[in-house]
């Protein structure tokens, strides 16, 4: 019984990182229509920021090991990812949708390569380890500290959810949706479209960075392998299946797809002989891809479609 429970807790904690990323993407893609394919990059920036600020001092790095409180690491992760979003946004947000996608994708890959190669800060492929985890030093049992961590995740998700709901229902959110519907028309109404897009982009990137930081302080070890483009694709599938333009949809989609991902993982381990398991892991991507295609064919607006009348 406790096994199942601890599995569920672990499942929902990992799921939380996807939920937060998906909420961050929703403000960019769901509400403003910006096709940011660099989620993994901003997630990585957040993860490394918190790891460097809160982590121990390693013998082979020249920068880092500040051992700061975790909460400070997370706040800085939001700020640094937000600044990364600002810099990326300044150079890419005037681009058309498809070019924005290509350039953010390239930037995310570059960030991953930076993490891989700037060994004096990130320890390259060896990664940063022994990162502090909240409550881990108070409770010996990982079960109890995981319960605490799950509570933190739920609190953070609730806060982000309500903040975003308020934001998208405000006049500011209305302008975002008008930009998504028709950029030129929004401009013709005297809206500084670029500034609004930039603000939404920074906000989304900051949220993705927080997800990365929370991931780093939970798994306690990060390496460039954690920030591959597949992460970005997963978050997109979650948001589209859940319902873009609906914050609750972003949450539901993340849970559904993460459940499917985990279940297919177990299923593959169960039916495929160990020799072929590495290859069979690709089946998960096929399964999730199929779900995406079926969803786009039969219910393109997602499990929870965007509400047409969001009251002001």
């Amino acid at each position: 019984m406790i096994d199942i429970l601890s599995f569920l807790i672990f499942f929902f904690i990992v799921c939380s990182f996807y939920i937060i990323s998906s909420l961050g993407l929703n403000i960019q893609y769901g509400f403003t229509g910006m096709f940011n394919v660099g989620i993994a990059g901003f997630f990585a920036v957040g993860a490394y920021t918190s790891a460097i600020l809160t982590g121990p001092n390693y013998a082979d790095t020249i920068f880092g090991g500040f051992g700061l409180p975790i909460i400070l690491g997370w706040v800085c992760a939001i700020i640094v990812s937000g600044i990364a979003g600002l810099l990326v946004g300044l150079i890419t947000l005037k681009l058309r949708e498809d070019f924005l996608a290509i350039s953010t994708f390239g930037i995310a890959i570059s960030l991953q390569l930076v993490a891989l190669n700037v060994e004096s800060v990130t320890r390259g492929p060896n990664g940063l380890y022994a990162l502090p985890k909240p409550f881990a030093h108070i409770f010996d049992s990982p079960f109890v500290s995981n319960v605490c961590y799950l509570i933190i995740c739920i609190v953070v998700i609730t806060m982000i959810y309500y903040a975003l709901e308020r934001a998208v229902r405000s006049p500011w959110g209305r302008v975002l949706r008008s930009i998504r519907e028709d950029e030129v028309a929004a401009e013709a109404l005297g809206k500084n479209v670029f500034m609004y897009r930039l603000q939404a982009f920074i906000l989304g990137c900051g949220i993705m960075g927080l997800a990365g930081a929370m991931y780093a302080n939970f798994v306690r070890f990060i390496s460039p392998q954690d920030f591959l483009p597949i992460f970005t694709i997963q978050v997109y599938v979650m948001l589209i299946v859940g319902g873009k333009g609906n914050n609750l949809g972003a949450i539901v989609g993340a849970i559904v797809i993460w459940a499917l991902w985990s279940a297919s993982d177990s299923l593959i381990n169960f039916i495929v002989t160990p020799d072929f398991q590495t290859q069979a892991a690709a089946l998960r991507i096929i399964i999730v891809g199929m779900v995406l295609v079926l969803m786009l064919v039969f219910k393109p607006s997602g499990i929870l479609p965007e509400k047409k009348h969001v009251s002001g």
Partner: protein, 253 residues
């Protein structure tokens, strides 16, 4: 104010366009060397065949296309190098041609999007818009996508008025409307002018548009062909043949 032609010459110059060259690409100008003036309180109609550069000219005025050379001076201030939002802040409003409302948003949210900052006057302006377009009040909670073509045009006009403009640029207000609605829209344009807003509109229905406007400008191939009193244009047989199609007298012979 109703007798329209009298106020043209008495009105102060509001907008001055000098040698304007504008277009979507620098090497492909659509509007070529156009100079014109717009006077306070008038309705000015831009006429011309498709591709003449009428829409591009008003987009050039409000910064939606690139001004390649020449300049636009609005109330004594050069605006040709400003961003669209900065021009709109100077109380110029632009109504795009068809597909011009946010279909997924409700009518009142569409109107709210038109309002810029000044919260104090917001209620007052909203009331004014609802008085001019009572249908919008009736459908204020409906999503704009469910409105008819005529209602959408009203919404687009109403939304532009929410910014409290002194100069309104309208791109083909009668496009896609049945004749009866067309006249209604033109009547509303007159009402808007009577509330103190100067109007520049692009139109294909030359006859109907000229009958409510003070002056007409005729463009062809991006160049200015004629600037004249609407009445004179309406009576000009050459213009009638080229731009209004063959008149009834011609058809009878």
């Amino acid at each position: 104010m109703v007798s329209s032609f009298s106020n043209v010459n008495s009105g102060r110059e509001m907008l001055k366009v000098s040698n304007l060259v504008a277009g979507y690409r620098r090497d492909l100008p659509i509007v070529i060397d156009v100079s014109m003036e717009v006077y306070e309180g008038e309705i000015l109609t831009l006429l011309g065949p498709n591709g003449a550069g009428k829409s591009t000219l008003i987009k050039g005025i409000c910064g939606l296309v690139e001004v390649i050379s020449g300049n636009v001076v609005f109330q004594g201030v050069e605006i040709s190098n400003l961003e669209t939002y900065e021009i709109i802040e100077r109380r110029v409003a632009y109504v795009p041609q068809t597909q011009n409302v946010f279909a997924k948003l409700s009518v009142s949210h569409n109107l709210d999007l038109g309002a810029i900052s000044n919260v104090k006057a917001y209620e007052e302006r909203l009331e004014k818009v609802f008085m001019l377009f009572p249908d919008l009040w009736k459908f204020k909670d409906t999503s704009a996508g469910k409105l008819s073509g005529g209602q959408r045009q009203m919404l687009a006009l109403g939304r532009a008025l929410m910014a409290d403009p002194i100069l309104l640029l309208i791109d083909e207000p009668s496009a896609g409307l049945a004749p009866i609605l067309r006249n209604q829209v033109f009547q509303q344009v007159v009402e808007i002018r009577e509330s103190g807003v100067t109007v520049i509109m692009v139109e294909q229905n030359a006859r109907a548009a000229l009958s409510v406007s003070d002056r007409g400008i005729i463009l062809a191939n991006g160049r200015l062909r004629r600037v004249q009193n609407s009445k004179e244009l309406l009576e000009d047989p050459e213009i009638a043949e080229i731009y209004f199609g063959a008149g009834p007298t011609v058809r009878a012979s």
